[in-house]
Amino acid sequence: MILVGELPLWIALLMCAWSVTLSYAGGAMRRADLIASGERGLYAGFGFIVLASAGLWTALITSDFSLRYVASFTSANLPFVYRISAFWGGQAGSMLFWCLILAGYSALATWTNRRSVRELMPWVTGTSALVLLFFVATTALASNPFERLEWVPADGRGLNPQLQNPAMAIHPPMLYLGYVATAIPFAFAIAALVTRRLDAEWLGAVRRWALVSWVFLTLGIVLGMWWAYVELGWGGYWMWDPVENASLLPWLTGTAFLHSIMIQEKRGMLRKWNVTLVVATFMLSVLGTFITRSGVIQSVHSFAQSAVGNWFAAFMILALAATVWLVSVRLKDLESQAQLEAMISREAAFLYNNLVLVGIAFSVLWGTLFPIISEAVRGSKITVGESFFNSVNVPLGLLLLALTGIGPLIAWRRASVGNIQRQFAAPAALGLITGAALFVLGIHKLYPLMTWTLSAFVTGTILQEFHKGVGARRKMYGENPVVALGRLVARNRRRYGGYVVHAGIVMLFAAFAGMAFKLEYDITLADGESYSAKDPYGRQWTFTNEGLSEFKALNREVTAIALRPTIDGKALPLITSEKRQHFDSRGNPTFQPSTEVGILVRNDMDVYVVLAGVVRNKAEIRVNFNPLVVWVWHGGVIMALGGLIVMWPQSEKRRKQGGYVAALAPAAEVATA
């Protein structure tokens, strides 16, 4: 086991150190042999990390309880799938998992770009190997999954029942894939700063990796929401928990970057800002891991206790210092040569979009850290809960939604009045009509009304964009509408894939607004008793307790309640909610009891039933009516699909998108004519 397992981890550590040294030296001395050796060090490091990971997986699958990690997170009766996912079920394993992904990404980035941006590559290889070196060192020295126990226990503790959920098997890998991918753009940014090649060349590679990161983060976040919703039982999918916030932060800055990068491509502006965003996104990813790992947020006093936390803090400080220094000595190279010209232009709209996205990121970070700041300043503990985040971020979110509709309609450089009238008429009309209709139908809450009005407006924008695009193609190439639509998307994947993402965002926002109308009922029911309640749409529901049951399943004892719902007198399928007590292979109970939420999914709302417990044969249950929740998941899927369209590799022959450069002399270029 040491052979495939711990030993490779240590060899990988040496390989990374080698790769860092040789790549940087090769870059500085321009020696191809050193550079090549550095590259190979990275590939070899990847190979050995794969071996190490294979070792851990083998131990997990074969239940080698002599390893502390295996004994801590699996048990002999754990289903096979969860043995695989136990790899990232604990801290030490997830550190190794992080290394595995980072090594894979770095090797891939080095391999795919080794010919295209040669001048940058030694620095890219060296920087990604440096980041990898940090993670491997932390894993090997502070959080080693191959640590042995002094005795071999008969059985392991088992995996936390809340992690025994299919979403949990894929949600953490998705998030990790997203988090870790931010390291590659960071490496490119450092390389570009070092070599002073801050032009469009590095943008191509950076953009691809930023997209990879964005798509995985999106999937990871939405899956996390889904898991929290179906597994934790408190009734919602997002509560601004520090750990949730940590995953949102790099997503926000990454999204900002994917927008502002377009201005640099078209107009050569915003270089400093783009470098800043790339670095910030990576730092926030590391911060996210740090927050999760160190416990700095929940309890200030545990700060110094976690060894891993210290490693992360040191790494972040060093990386930040190095980047700030690099940027400051390269400020002159980052000067852009073009200028913004008008308050109402595509470029300005992108700037506003960036401002709002970064503003949201700041407010989330601020709210997450404020308890610590407050305790440091005033010495008194406070809680910054959901309502704080909502009061700040809901208006900002609405602004962002509005910009999602406005930005795509505005012309580059300078929008004329005529342009604005032509472009905005239809979408604005759609939004206003929808808003008025909803108001008449009795929706008078401000935020939901605004959200749905804006959602309709943005939907109008997206439809109009597709319509105009198809129209332009039909005119230019004489294609029939279906062909035109297909080619429109295929030829302009970035733009129209982006609109698909926008459509997903609209769906998400519209669904979020639905939660403003949620209702919850706290009910106690004996066998056969009924309870009736009104849902947000004003319909009458009854819930009848059809009986409690107790039974044993694979690794748990289950208490279940069956509820018969009726809506306006019509019977619907049973909803069952469970309380589970897990036990190990010797029949000893493990963990606290957990809840299995019963959810009746409908297009208009979810009926969400939690069995809180049973007292004297009476079931204590909570019933939530959660409007529009299913659209959150649909929206997430659409966003990821849009991301895939944008990311889908195009054959080499296809055009470089963003073909022309909208560069115009500051004065009157036209007048040459």
Binding site: G268, A472, A665, A667, A668, T672
Partner: protein, 183 residues
């Protein structure tokens, strides 16, 4: 014991793999040897996109006209080069690179990254490096001005007769057509 042997073997293999380029010496070029030339952006493609953006309302009419004026000659040159056959492959590259050519020639704004292939920056740099010409006072030193700081007339960034760029601030006649630059 076996584990130790196999382990050392593995480590040795890894070491060999990593050290190989060094053993071949400084002349080793490795995988980075053959870098294919970066693909040139096509001016015809650019024109297509300009046309498309105009049709979908992303460009104002005057921006459209001036962008077309910039790219149409390049695209035409590209087409001619393509027609010229096999030899044309290189020429099309030349045509597309022409966007940046002015920068390198004029040198004024040719900072370190002028040759970098960043089309946006190059075009902008070229625009800036041109001399503005006052119809009354001739070429002007002020790069960003809109009006002549001596007489207040509107400044053109090119010869008013033939449209050729004026790069030397002291020239009194156009280098292309010979017409007088100052009244």
């Amino acid at each position: 014991m076996l584990a130790l042997i196999v382990g050392s073997g593995l480590a040795a293999l890894g070491l060999l793999f990593v050290l190989l380029p060094l053993m071949r010496g400084a002349g080793y070029t490795g995988s980075a040897a053959a870098a294919p030339p970066a693909e040139e952006a096509s001016a015809v493609e650019a024109l297509r996109e300009i046309e498309f953006d105009q049709a979908t309302g992303k460009l104002s009419p005057d921006d459209y006209a001036s962008l077309r004026a910039t790219y149409a000659p390049l695209a035409l040159a590209e087409l001619e080069a393509r027609d010229a056959g096999a030899a044309g492959t290189e020429a099309s590259g030349v045509a597309a690179r022409e966007i940046g050519a002015g920068v390198i020639a004029s040198g004024d704004a040719g900072s370190g990254d002028a040759s970098s292939g960043d089309a946006a920056e190059q075009l902008i740099a070229r625009m800036k490096s041109r001399r503005l010409v006052c119809t009354h006072c001739g070429p002007r030193p002020e790069g960003d001005a809109i009006f002549c700081s001596d007489c207040g007339r509107y400044l053109s960034p090119a010869c008013l007769r033939c449209g050729a760029d004026v790069e030397d601030p002291h020239s009194r006649f156009c280098g292309e057509c010979g017409s007088s630059l100052a009244a």
